[in-house]
């Protein structure tokens, strides 16, 4: 990896922001001391294993549990027949009725089966092995109903999501700018359909929970989640207990990529079990179960119609999509967003539909809908560039827009052109030939491709608490999580920068619902949201110091105060100098403790705010076997300030790897005869391994966007992946002349 920093002098100021600091929790992770959800040891812990349905739709006619109950060590076999009632479960027949948009599956609520692999019973025993064995002894008989899982055969049943039906201004509602479907009457046009198969997050850590009722109405869970606050609220509502009686701990999260943004049936199953057996219960899903009940990127059909003038100006885009959802929840995502705002185009039409099948509910998977949409849009841009005989980079430059054409607002910042120029240079775009099959490396066909990505620069309200102890060390808390990007490290750097305290004196604590509010770790918003709260609390801490210092600091602003080696000083003012311990003593305090909140301000309404990325790929395709090897990847991001070049660079690499998986190997395949996934482990569902991944060059423009937040960050997580899959698909076309519109691009599609 190499990371380039251009224009570093434009950073806010000299400080630790931007430093490639090692992770604050690196030592924990390399020594095995980092504890993930299933690794909390509680006294008298019982183990649970789920039994899941083997039909996709119908009802459970009978459940034979006696043999399992008698098996050694078994404490309980829980199902709809004997489950303690969850008071918050809505008392209507189908979870989708009557609330619009549906609701999560109510585990063990009744005898209904809505998808294959749905939990139908839970075996609790004193050891894992005994629970696992006894789970094999539970036998179900079903009254089967005809299920519908075949996406292609049922496309005509797709519908407008309730959110869009009820609100014409919803981003999911049909959108027309200029003339509807204007491409149809144009001279130069293309029309193509694209398919994104179901992709499964498959983080390395299996979804796991330890549920513990500490009292009748006091619940503590050690849970894999990206939202400790959201999970806390969900369980408080389920069990009709005060929010503060629920404690959610997620100190370390072993990857999630979106599947921790929802509460899932297994979590409530474990909580029910802990209530039933009156012991803490641990439940870890199997890898197979990860395919059936914790979400996935939905199978999505898309169609793009596009027209342009002969000199390369886009005149119209129509982008339609249908995404899969379950029968009981309306899952939606922003698949069509990029088509609305990325290019200067007078006529844009989008239509978003969802299709309910007898499957479990999807959930946002890294990049989410935007990544699916970018595959279609950026492939179509490549197709149009070929139709016009124009270089795909030139075609994008010709249609670059300096204002958001959807919102009709200026961008807060946009350095996409710079990204494209830097990336093109690094990949060696000049070697590329417009004509496919022009380049070879030995017997391998060589091709180059690119794709653009974008994602909203989100910022959501967050709070942080800071305590400065007598020894000058600082502890900051916020109820965010770290699923891998290095949240704790970034927060320490932001705090060190704001306080002038060295990073090794600062501890950032996360993953606990008892801490001040933080939004879920999703939508590339953590550094913007929690980082702003950390920044705010550090300023509040300095204000408090200034206030306590009285006349010593009356003539300065809080920003001027620095705290070095336990001394509070002001640059250029030798008289303003107080030892922190003395300050505490004078005010009769043990420590200073402040809490602050950061939230988006009205200024944001004056701008359209997005992160941008561009990905370049050089692929080698074997003309006989159809094997595709990604030989080189360059990813460039305009993501505002880069807080830590090492962890941010790593996150970009990870997005590229995810995009390579999406492009070349990942697809969950359902056998429609049974409505069941046949890809149910990592031997059948392929994810990239070491041998699949080349060097990934990461380039950051690294210019702060102070309209977004005081630190100037715009978010990295999603744009690292969005646009990577079309870059590879376009490179494969450049190498072979074959346009693959159905992912993944497996060898059978190329021979």
């Amino acid at each position: 990896m190499s990371i380039n920093y251009i224009m570093k002098e434009q950073l806010l100021k000299d400080g630790v922001i931007g430093d490639p600091m090692n992770r604050v929790d690196g030592r924990m992770k390399v020594t095995g001391r980092a504890r993930y959800s299933a690794e909390f040891e509680l006294p008298n812990l019982a183990h649970a294993v789920l039994v899941t349905s083997t039909i996709a739709k119908g009802r459970i006619k009978s459940l034979e549990t006696k043999v399992a109950e008698r098996a050694p060590g078994v404490l309980a076999v829980i199902s709809h027949l004997n489950s303690p009632k969850v008071p918050g479960f809505a008392q209507h027949d189908h979870p989708a009725e009557p609330p619009t948009g549906g609701q999560p599956l109510r585990v063990f609520y009744n005898d209904k089966v809505y998808s294959n692999g749905q939990p139908i019973a839970l075996v609790v025993a004193d050891t894992f092995e005994r629970a696992l064995y006894a789970s094999s002894l539970v036998k179900a008989q079903y009254e089967q109903e005809k299920h519908t899982t075949d996406f292609e055969a049922n496309k005509e049943k797709a519908f407008i999501p309730s959110q869009a039906k009820n609100n014409k201004n919803s981003h999911l509602a049909d959108y027309v700018r200029g003339e509807e479907d204007a491409y149809k009457t144009a001279d130069i046009k293309i029309e193509a359909e694209y398919t994104q198969p179901t992709e499964v997050h498959n983080p390395m850590e299996l979804q796991a929970i330890v549920a513990h009722w500490e009292a009748e109405d006091k619940l503590t869970v050690y849970d894999k989640t990206q939202a400790v606050k959201g999970t806390q609220n969900a369980f408080a509502k389920d069990w009709n207990i005060p929010v503060e009686n629920v404690k959610v701990i997620a100190t370390f999260v072993g990857g999630a990529f979106g599947n921790g943004l929802h509460t899932w049936p297994h979590e409530t199953a474990a909580i029910i079990a802990a209530k039933k057996v009156n012991r803490p219960v641990k439940l870890m899903l199997t890898r197979e179960q990860m395919f059936f009940m914790v979400g996935y990127r939905p199978h999505t059909w898309q169609k793009i119609g596009m027209s342009a003038t002969a000199d390369g100006k886009l005149t119209a885009i129509t982008h339609e999509s249908i995404g899969q959802t379950s029968s009981y929840e309306e899952f939606t995502e922003s698949t069509l967003q990029q088509s609305k705002m990325m290019y200067a185009c007078p006529n844009v039409t989008t239509r978003y539909r969802i299709l309910a099948l007898d499957v479990s509910t999807p959930i946002w998977m890294r990049g989410p809908g935007e990544a699916t949409g970018a595959f279609a849009l950026e492939s179509a841009m490549d197709e149009m560039a070929y139709a016009l005989n124009i270089d795909p980079i030139e075609f994008r430059m010709l249609n670059h827009t300096e204002r958001d054409p959807e919102k009709n607002l200026p961008w807060s910042t946009k350095y996409l052109k710079e990204c494209i120029q830097l990336g093109a240079e690094r990949i060696g775009w000049e070697k590329r030939q417009l004509k496919p099959r022009s380049l070879k490396f030995g017997e391998w066909l060589v091709g180059y491709g690119m794709g653009v990505g974008t994602f909203g620069a989100n910022f959501r309200m967050a709070r942080a608490r800071a305590r400065m102890l007598a020894d000058g060390s600082v502890i900051i808390q916020s109820a965010t999580t770290d699923i891998g990007p290095g949240t704790g490290t970034a927060m320490v750097q932001i705090a060190a920068d704001a306080l002038g305290v060295p990073p090794d004196k600062i501890t950032f604590q996360l993953g606990n619902s008892a801490f001040p509010h933080s939004p879920s770790q999703g939508g590339s918003s953590t550094v913007s949201s929690v980082g702003s709260a950390v920044h705010a609390v550090c300023i509040a801490l300095k204000e408090k110091i200034q206030q306590l210092g009285g006349t010593a600091f009356s003539a300065v602003t809080p920003e001027d105060i620095t705290i070095i080696g336990g001394m509070i000083t002001v640059p250029n003012d030798a008289s303003a100098k107080v030892a922190y311990v003395d300050l505490l003593k004078q005010n009769n305090l043990q420590e200073i403790d402040v809490t602050a909140e950061a939230k988006p301000d009205d200024e944001r309404k004056n701008y359209s705010m997005y992160s941008f990325s561009v990905h370049f790929a050089e692929v080698h395709v074997h003309p006989v076997t159809g094997v595709v090897r990604v030989n080189k990847v360059v990813s460039c991001a305009d993501a505002g300030t880069i807080v830590n070049e090492k962890t941010a660079g790593n996150q970009m690499i990870g997005g590229a790897v995810g995009g390579i998986g999406m492009a070349l190997m990942e697809a969950a395949v359902i056998d429609d005869r049974f409505g069941r996934y046949v890809t149910k482990d990592l031997a059948e569902y392929h994810v990239p391994v070491h041998a699949d991944i080349p060097k990934v060059d990461v380039i950051f423009v690294n210019k702060p966007d102070l309209h977004v937040n005081p630190i100037g960050t715009k978010g990295i997580g999603e744009i690292a992946l969005i646009g990577m899959a079309p870059a590879i698909a376009n490179a494969v076309f450049n190498a072979t002349g074959k346009r693959i519109r159905e992912l993944p691009i497996t060898p059978d599609k190329l021979i």
Binding site: T31, R33, P72, G73, F128, G255, L682, H690, A691
Partner: protein, 215 residues
């Protein structure tokens, strides 16, 4: 559980280091317990209790393992994998469960110096063997060079596959399979990193290999 016992795993009889006399004694004890159970009037015993007591006595097998340098005499069910033994009974949770099918490498440990997917081997099959887990790699507070290199090169994100990657990486060098980037990629492909930190992991391994430090 953690009783230390001298037992030379390298002796020709390495696997037979449990004393036969002791096994016999255990068997006799179990037999008399069974006898006592058999003589209890059936009305006193519920079927479940009986099952449980029988299971307790017969489902466990004595095993001696040297884990991270400490010899341990254990009593485990034959169906317990090394992975579940480490995680669920010995509180060594550094070794991770990622698939339980030997497909992801998160559970990689060293058994007598060889990298092994601990989810694919039963503890009873390793009687008398030396097992090293991530917790046993560092020399006290001094990290192993591979651990240092992973931190320096940011060879991880979420950290869940990391112990397996590190154990595999150390073995990869010891095996002589770390002579080029391509070779490292090939011989590390049994360890999946879903966060995608692969290039950084390769850089970490290269640095340790090229640094010539003892691994």
């Amino acid at each position: 559980m953690a009783e230390k016992k001298n037992c030379d795993a390298n002796s020709p009889k390495g696997n037979n280091c449990t004393h036969h006399s002791e096994e016999r004694r255990t068997f006799l004890k179990q037999s008399s317990a069974m006898m006592a159970l058999a003589l209890t009037p059936p009305t006193v015993l519920k079927a479940a209790d009986l099952d449980e007591k029988v299971a307790e006595k017969f489902e466990k097998v004595p095993v001696t393992l040297e884990i991270n340098g400490v010899k341990q005499k254990l009593s485990v069910e034959p169906r317990v994998t090394v992975l579940d033994l480490l995680r669920e009974q010995l509180n060594l949770t550094g070794t991770k469960k990622g698939c339980d099918y030997g497909q992801c490498g998160a559970c990689t440990v060293h058994i007598d110096g060889t990298r092994v997917n601990s989810c694919l081997t039963f503890a009873v099959m390793q009687d008398g063997k030396k097992i090293t887990t991530i917790e046993g790699l560092a020399a006290g507070e001094e990290l192993h060079p591979m651990q240092e290199a992973f931190i320096k090169h940011d060879g991880f994100q979420c950290g869940y596959c990391t112990p397996g990657q590190i154990m595999s990486a150390v073995a990869c060098i010891r095996e002589g399979h770390a002579n080029s980037e391509a070779e490292i990629r090939e011989y590390m492909s049994g360890n999946i990193c879903r966060c995608g930190a692969y290039p950084n992991i390769v850089n970490a391994i290269l640095e340790v290999k090229n640094g010539g430090q003892k691994v």
